[in-house]
Amino acid sequence: MIYLDNSATTKPHEDVLKTFLAVNEQYFANPASIHRAGVESNALLTKAREQLANILHTEEKNILFTSGGTESNNAAIFGLAKSSNFRGKHIITTEIEHPSILEAVKRLEEEGYEIDYLKVNKYGIISLEELKQKLRKDTIIVSIMHVNNEMGAIQPIKEAAQIIHKQCQAMFHVDAIQSFGKLPVLFEGDEGPDVISVSGHKIHGLKGSGLLAFRKKPQLKAFIVGGGQEFGLRSGTVPVPQAAALAKAARLAVENMPVHVQNYKKWSAELHHFFEQFDQEVYILSPKDGAPHILSFSVKGLKGEILINALQKRDIIVSTSSACSSKQTKTSHVVEALNIDSRYKNGVLRLSFGTNNTDEDIAAFKKQFSVVMKELKGEITQ
């Protein structure tokens, strides 16, 4: 079976599993316990936090562990809004964010916050000009995803950061869940976001683990309250095995990034070329300079599910644009925002690469896709 749905979730790396299992066995104590077992497990938690801080170019006290990407995004939106609503209630985000941002701001809208959604062009990119115009004195949060999960568009984060920080006091949050391990870390350099979200299971780490990282001292109201763990900002017994596993996965992702990204770029270029041969039959949604691991395309007049099933019969696993909304039958909000030709709207498929993929996988995909196209659409010259 060839798995090309790594943006939905990835298989944990063997070393990540090893770390998880070893920590579970040797350091199971509650890191908040003051006895020696608790102290040891807390030391390990601190070590994981230090490693992640190093990788992310920030300080240890600026890393908050969460239960995953959705919680990180929710905690950022709700937590930042509640801690700065004395300054204003205006929030800017984009039309193509992940639902964990869009649903959170929608909730805030019901509470009286004002939300502006930046539009994107056909390549999925926001306009910095529009951002400049929308920013106000009372803007408290700007949340823009780094890499779009459905089609891989990369937003101009550094430029956006410059504009935001020059124009107002708003906190700049970036959902870096799809970009971490594939693009340079966002806290590198002088200019960048104030806070980013990262998820473990998208980088061959574990499900149920993620983090929220701040460039400087965290400024947010706790979203989950109780025992006061994570500097009082996220309560609940901290799962040390998951934290250690996340540090491991992040290290592997960043260390091996050059090799993997080179592969992804090669495969992406190869597939761009391949799909172009189908001419009008296939429309490629992903920009050529987009994230290297995501390639979305659409087959004219076909439903995505039909293609998925046809490929699956040939042992190729791909997905419609995202897993989180894959049960919904309506067109994804991202596809809508791209404003593409309606003949291509229903047949969007996403290929997403992971570290386990090989050249052979891509070759097999191409072969089987051609067969499927022939079957579903009749003879097509290529």
């Binding site: 998880f20 066995e25 199971f28 919680e71 989950i224 017994t237």
Partner: protein, 381 residues
């Protein structure tokens, strides 16, 4: 250094080897996204569904009534915030007790700041509230009663059945935090008239980072986490299938041996008592005598000071706690003991909690009792 004897299972428990095995296998084989419609996703979904059904059966619930969360704290927060926000147009009064876990208390305090009124019921010297107290506190605008099943620090079990009887004809939602009780007490949400119930895996030899909230069909709870439409749109976030599968396995194991473990832990209490008596040290047991969780044993040793006591116990390899581990690192007086004995009671400075679980034997407990008694003697002489 002496071997360590871990007597802090109420803080967290080691993951059972069978559970780890199941989890590792799920991580390798059910690593798909359960929301994906392809075969890899469907395999994960199947494992998730089976685990959900199995866990639901443990408390006599339907599988559609189980909402997986990242743990007990999130489940408690969701129960409280979720009820408050979903029902605030019906009323803004909440009833709880002074001895709840902080995941409940701090959530209630946050709601107070937002305009809700919270009644914190006091407890008697055994740590119990009565159904009559709940009845007396009930108002027309009470939308939530949240009372824990069994206390994490002293083990006292609340009269949940009687409270359920009192509440069954009132509009209020009834939530109970069963994080410590699940796996040691047989809980039937139907019979007890419970609407919401929180459970955590890592207290029953399951993995950390997973728990559930039982929400009875028809009971209104708003989501805490918003995003994708997982958990029937009640809790967003990619389903943590390996952890859920492991949780279900852990629940199977504790259920199989529920009675056996209760007897074993009650016997551990007797062994400790016997050691303290033989050593002729002064002690008294906190919490209710009969309605008490078998694995929690809170004892006051008059004349000891908890800080130096804990350090000495730690050096002797006896790993216990002064109450809850969740009060992150601090040895502030326990709010539970304050509620039971008053602000200046000597118990606040000289009580510790032993809690039992996997891997303990009569011999280890006897040895821990012996070492504890020696230290008490030294510290009080």
């Amino acid at each position: 250094m002496k071997n360590t004897i871990y007597l802090d299972h109420a803080a967290t428990s080691p993951v059972a080897p069978e559970v780890i095995e199941v989890m590792a296998r799920a991580m390798a084989e059910e690593s798909g996204n359960a929301s994906s419609i392809h075969t890899v996703g469907r395999r994960a979904r199947k494992a998730l569904d089976e685990a959900r059904t199995s866990l639901a059966q443990k408390i006599n619930a339907k599988s559609s009534e189980i909402i997986f969360t990242s743990g007990g704290t999130e489940a408690d927060n969701m129960a409280i915030f979720g009820t408050a926000y979903a029902r605030q147009h019906e009323g803004k009064h909440i009833i709880t007790t002074q001895i709840e876990h902080h995941a409940v208390l701090h959530a209630c305090e946050k709601l107070e700041k937002e305009g809700f009124t919270v009644t914190y019921l006091p407890v008697d010297r055994t740590g119990r509230v009565s159904a009559d107290q709940v009845k007396a506190a009930l108002r027309e605008d009470t939308i939530l009663v949240t009372i824990m099943y069994g206390n994490n620090e002293i083990g006292t079990i609340q009269p949940i059945a009687e409270i359920g009887e009192v509440l069954k004809n009132h509009i209020t939602t009834f939530h109970t935090d069963a994080v410590q009780a699940f796996g040691l007490e047989k809980i039937d949400v139907e019979a007890l008239h419970i609407d919401l119930l929180s459970v955590s895996a890592h207290k029953i030899n399951g993995p950390k980072g997973i728990g559930f909230l039982y929400a009875k069909t028809g009971v209104k709870v708003s989501s805490l986490l918003h995003g994708g439409s997982q958990e029937k749109k009640r809790r967003a976030g990619t389903e943590n299938v390996p952890a859920v599968v492991a949780f279900s396995k852990a629940a199977d194991l504790v259920e199989e041996e529920l009675q056996l473990r209760k007897e074993k832990y009650n016997n551990f209490k007797n062994i400790l008592i016997e050691q303290f008596r033989v050593a002729n040290i002064d002690f008294h047991i906190n919490g209710h005598q009969t309605d008490v969780l078998a694995h929690v044993f809170n004892v006051t040793f008059p004349g000891t000071d908890v800080e130096s006591f804990l350090i000495n116990l730690d050096m002797a390899g006896v790993l216990v706690s002064s109450g809850s581990a969740c009060t992150a690192g601090s040895i502030d007086p326990s709010h539970v003991l304050v509620a039971m004995f008053g602000q200046d009671a000597p118990e606040l400075r000289s009580s510790i909690r032993f809690s039992f679980g996997l891997g303990l034997t009569d011999e280890l407990v006897r040895e821990a009792g012996k070492r504890t008694a020696e230290i008490v003697k030294r510290l009080t002489s």
